[in-house]
């Protein structure tokens, strides 16, 4: 009976109402996420629009939105890049230690320990930075200003409060360390065992094995992880807001009392007391921050995903 066969072929997966509802719900939730992300951009733009079209003298500072945001953007980029410069090598070393150096039995526990660094709320890093790190940094800053003052970063004069860009950068570095090292760690763990064993069998020392087998395999992950860390550092708010004593302005000087603000910290500091066009200006700066972090994160994910596709490790 050919008709019956045809019928079963046509209804291979019978669609019950429950199925349709459930599939619709879950697809809807997925689409909702895309809508939310688009909504973030759209609503920020709507609320930032009055500031973007307002006459320059209405903007706080009186010289227009671009002039207002530029020093903030500079401070944001400077602190994030320097934090990354400290955190990236450390993160790679930590990932190496956990995957290749630590005794196998305690390696996982050590991984948890590093992950705990990520669990500490940012406000606590801020309090720690200003209460512990800032006083500790005063003496070394003075030393840096005296002996390395010819480098623009350490031009000084060193402040006696320790509320400097240098401390903010170190706190940021500590905060992005866990995420960066977690991604790198994952990549190192997936290094093909055969590559490692082959190079060891050829008489390579452990470091030579790592240099020839592990690092090349993890290279794009290291780049991606660094960019993820950069994204985190760009958007970090409270730690910078608490630690940094700001005076605006664009300077590379890390250890003086006059530091550039960052976008996120500026919003946190000024938003609660702002009204009218000032709020719109702050939201406009938030929009800039959103755009920058979005770009950085998309690039990072693209780099990491490309490795995932070609590695053959999954």
């Amino acid at each position: 009976m050919p008709s019956s066969t045809e019928r079963t072929r046509a209804h291979r997966a019978p669609q019950r109402p429950g199925d349709r509802v459930f599939a619709g719900l879950s697809t809807g939730a997925g689409v909702l996420i895309l809508v939310v992300l688009a909504g973030v951009a759209a609503f920020l733009l709507t609320e930032a629009w009055p500031a973007l079209v307002a006459p320059a003298e209405d903007i706080p500072g009186g010289e227009g939105v671009a002039i207002y945001i530029w020093p903030l953007l500079f401070g944001t980029l400077l602190s994030a890049f320097l934090a990354l410069l400290i955190a990236a090598p450390l993160a790679v070393a930590i990932a190496l230690f956990i995957t290749h150096y630590a005794p196998r039995r305690i390696a996982q526990a050590l991984g948890y320990l590093i992950d705990l660094l990520a669990a500490v709320p940012s406000i606590i890093y801020g309090l720690w930075g200003i209460a512990v790190l800032a006083p500790l940094s005063v003496e070394p800053s003075e030393w840096l200003a005296e002996n390395l003052g010819f480098i623009p970063l350490f031009a000084g004069p060193a402040t006696s409060t320790g509320r400097t860009m240098l401390v903010a950068v170190i706190v940021l570095a500590v905060m992005i360390l866990p995420i960066t090292s977690a991604v790198v760690r994952e990549a190192f763990r997936q290094t093909p065992r055969l590559h490692e064993e082959a190079s060891l069998a050829l008489g390579a020392t452990r470091w030579e094995m790592i240099r020839m087998a592990v690092l090349p395999f993890g290279r794009s992950s290291i780049i991606g992880a660094s960019m993820l860390g950069l994204g985190r550092a760009l958007g970090e708010t409270m730690a910078v807001a608490i630690v940094l004593s700001v005076s605006g302005g664009v300077t590379f000087n890390l250890i003086s009392s006059g530091n550039p603000k960052t976008i996120a910290a500026n919003i946190a500091l000024d938003f609660p007391e702002s009204t009218g066009i000032a709020v719109n200006t702050l939201i406009a700066s938030g929009l800039v921050l959103f755009a920058v972090t979005l770009l950085v994160n998309m690039a990072a994910r693209a780099v990491i995903n490309r490795r995932r596709e070609f590695s053959g490790a999954n």
């Binding site: 019978p14 019950r16 459930f22 599939a23 719900l25 879950s26 697809t27 939730a29 997925g30 909702l32 996420i33 909504g39 920020l44 709507t46 609320e47 450390l90 070393a93 930590i94 230690f97 956990i98 150096y101 630590a102 590093i114 705990l116 660094l117 669990a119 709320p121 940012s122 406000i123 890093y125 309090l127 500790l136 500590v174 360390l177 452990r206 470091w207 030579e208 985190r232 760009l234 958007g235 708010t237 409270m238 608490i242 996120a264 919003i267 946190a268 609660p272 009204t275 009218g276 709020v279 702050l282 939201i283 938030g286 921050l289 959103f290 972090t293 979005l294 950085v296 994160n297 994910r301």
Partner: protein
């Protein structure tokens, strides 16, 4: 046998290889440990002679690396020496990363302990000037707002993960995966501004409500829930699904009755970790919920206090004398860190005790 061509070019196999040594020297088995002990002793000696801790540790660490490198290079040759140096550097980097963790925990406990008393957990800040007062209102606010955020994010995150694992094919699924990843990188302050902008369009500028904070936290929480749930659903063995289909169970019932229960422990772990991640967020709550000194447990009506924002304001606007407020700030930080650590511990326990049954 074609042995004609290589006779002149090959190595001379008739002279024994006694010129080059086949083995290198080796450091004694306990060499690194004994050098480390020596460095430790030297460091302590420096400490006792009046150096500060950091300088002594740095000198001892460098001393260890240099001695091990030089000794190994003299005995074992440059390759092994480099290897030992890298081992020292990598281990040192790891220990260096532990310093902030230990220092943070120590600082928060020692500074937060003095006010960690009954009054802190039972009083609000209403009418309090100087001594006394507590964070009851802020703790309740944090619990309410985080609870609401979980209430919003868990269903959305769960359904999205189900879509990605069970239904998603093609472009839409790939776009969602990618943007969920990107969403994990949204700065928390931007999430706060988003919630503000959304509600400002509806209620007018200057609006502050608890629910705004919950929305902002959901933006941060949803991607975390999606990621962890997705990982958990992926490791549910396909045999379970196929067995259900073979019994003519509809797909949605298979997901609800077979897939989700199997992955439940992992999902619970993921949700707990997501809650732990957002419960300490300060910036989004600062711009959406604000702060108040009295009890307000209605998330749809005006400002609320939350623990991180409470801690922040106590620290930056302490008043005169500053000490009581600073103490309250540190105790709030201590409470917060305890909550986060307990949540993390709970997550690990859940995943340990109710591990997903992968061998169906």
């Amino acid at each position: 046998m074609p042995t004609t061509t290589s006779r002149d070019q090959g190595p001379d196999l008739h002279t024994p290889l006694n010129a080059a040594p086949l083995t290198h020297g080796q450091l004694p088995r306990r060499a690194p440990q004994s050098v480390f002990l020596a460095a430790l002793v030297a460091g302590i000696a420096l400490l006792l002679s009046g150096w500060n801790v950091a300088a002594a540790a740095i000198v001892a660490g460098f001393g260890y690396a240099v001695v091990v490198y030089a000794w190994s290079r003299a005995v074992e040759g440059p390759r092994k020496a480099t290897d030992r140096l890298v081992t020292a550097v990598v281990t040192g980097a790891f220990l260096l990363a532990l310093i902030p963790l230990i220092s943070v925990v120590f600082t928060v406990i020692s500074k937060g302990a003095p006010r960690f008393d009954d009054q802190f957990f039972t009083y609000s800040m209403r009418g309090v000037v100087g001594e006394g007062g507590g964070a009851y209102h802020a703790i309740m606010g944090t619990l309410i707002i985080t609870g609401l955020a979980a209430l919003i994010s868990v269903p959305i995150g769960l359904l999205t993960a189900i879509y990605l694992v069970e239904y998603g094919r093609g472009k839409l699924a790939r776009a969602i995966t990618f943007f969920v990843d990107v969403m994990t990188g949204i700065p928390s302050i931007v999430a706060g501004l988003f919630a503000y902008a959304l509600f400002a369009l509806i209620f007018g500028p200057g609006v502050r409500m608890g629910i705004m904070g919950a929305v902002a936290l959901s933006v941060l929480m949803i991607p975390v829930v999606v990621r962890s749930t997705e990982e958990m659903l992926k490791i549910v063995p396909n045999e379970l699904r196929e067995a259900a289909y073979a019994l003519a169970v509809p797909k949605w019932r298979t997901i609800v009755k077979v897939v989700l229960p199997t992955a439940l422990a992992g999902i619970a772990t993921g949700v707990t970790l997501a809650v732990a991640r957002v419960i300490g967020e300060t910036a989004p709550l600062l711009v959406t919920v604000g702060i108040t000194s009295s009890d307000n447990f209605n998330p749809f009506d005006g400002r609320m206090a939350t623990l991180p924002v409470f801690s922040y304001y106590q620290y930056v606007t302490p008043g005169v004398p500053p000490d009581p407020a600073l103490n309250r700030a540190w105790t709030a930080a201590l409470t917060l860190i305890i909550i986060v650590m307990v949540l993390n511990l709970a997550a690990r326990l859940i995943s340990r005790l109710f591990a997903p049954k992968t061998r169906g």
